[in-house]
Amino acid sequence: MHSPQPNLDTRTSDDWPEELYRILKAADVRQMSYVPDAGHSQLIRLFSADPDVTTNVLTTEEEGVAIAAGAWLGGQRSVLLMQSSGVGNCINMLSLSAIGRFPLLMLVTMRGEWAEFNPWQVPMSRATQPSLEAIGLKVMRAETAEDLVETVESAAALAYDSDQQIAVLIGQRLIGKKKW
């Protein structure tokens, strides 16, 4: 979290969305749902172009929690993409994943924590990890592209092979500074 010389515009690697796509395909993910975030835009494009994955745009993030449970009932693996502001929308619906021990993999791009211009992003950013943990999810975090790829690979195995409910938080520092 603390860097002596933060360089806000540096990205360790620009191809992490393609790596995540490769990992999720290897994990046999067949459904992807999302509320858009700029940080997820490339991953959304990759999935949307994939005829073997059903992609759903949501009006609010908790819809994706319910869809993921339904997908699993029908034998398919699903992944849910959102930004941190969407986590608050999900909390009660996450009861379903938690009490039913449904595999759940959420990839959450963080706002409001690193060189954020919009103060309205800050409160939910602060609440993201504690609220997810309070409802029973395991939270994993990555701050570099290399770490993210490894973390998502591990999270996918935990979710789909061990019936766990996992949120991977993608640090805002990794995504880069939004240009205003």
């Binding site: 908790e62 319910a66 339904g70 997908a71 039913g100 061990s162």
Partner: protein, 196 residues
């Protein structure tokens, strides 16, 4: 709206599911879960005891995963009102094998029969139609429910949403298992999937 429906919800649900064949059913929190259980427990039922607003969307994820099977989300007006956005999401995706059936007593029956929006002019079928559903309709009598059951058995071009207006009363509860892991694993086994 007009005169309140006199249709008994249990009679309606029994008629709706009398010839369900291999239809998979997800029931929404509250009375629809009891209604579904009251007509006979089934391995192809997934009963919700929470996750309000999620019934149609769980049915939707299931329908996408099982395009060869018919899926019904059987829910109540209050439960569906909490998931209004999901009607837009389903309308955009246009699954051909999902029917949302709302058992509409125009009240929040589980919490003391407080009046809901659907008795005050909010029409879920109009919302679904505006979201691109392939068919919608409202029924109020047993004969109409029987015709609806036949209609639902026919293939569709997209998602359908039907409202069954029923009498606002709470029949004796018929309680399925509250163990979601058990119900989940039983449901998946019914479709041939192993437990972890």
């Amino acid at each position: 709206m007009s005169v309140p429906s006199q249709l008994d919800r249990r009679v309606a649900v029994a008629a709706l599911l009398e010839n369900r064949k291999d239809t998979l059913v997800v029931s929404g929190l509250g009375s629809p879960t009891y209604d579904l259980h009251s007509v006979g427990d089934h391995d192809g039922n997934f009963y919700l005891w929470g996750a309000m607003g999620g019934a149609a969307l769980i049915g939707f994820g299931l329908a996408q995963a099982q395009p060869g099977k018919r899926v019904m989300a059987l829910t109540g007006d209050g439960e569906q009102l909490m998931g209004l956005g999901g009607i837009a999401t389903i309308g955009v995706a246009r699954p051909r094998n999902l029917d949302v059936v709302v058992i509409d007593n125009q009240h929040f029956g589980e919490t003391g029969m407080q009046a809901s929006h659907t008795g005050r002019g909010v029409d879920l079928t109009a919302i679904a139609a505006a979201c691109g559903f392939a068919a919608t309709g409202t029924v109020r009598t047993l004969a109409e429910v029987q015709r609806l059951a036949s209609q639902i058995a026919e293939p569709a071009d997209g998602p359908r949403l039907f409202v069954i207006k029923v009498l606002a009363e709470n029949p004796p509860r018929s309680l399925p298992s509250r163990d979601a892991v058990f119900i989940k694993n039983r449901f998946r086994a019914h479709l041939g999937f192993a437990a972890a």
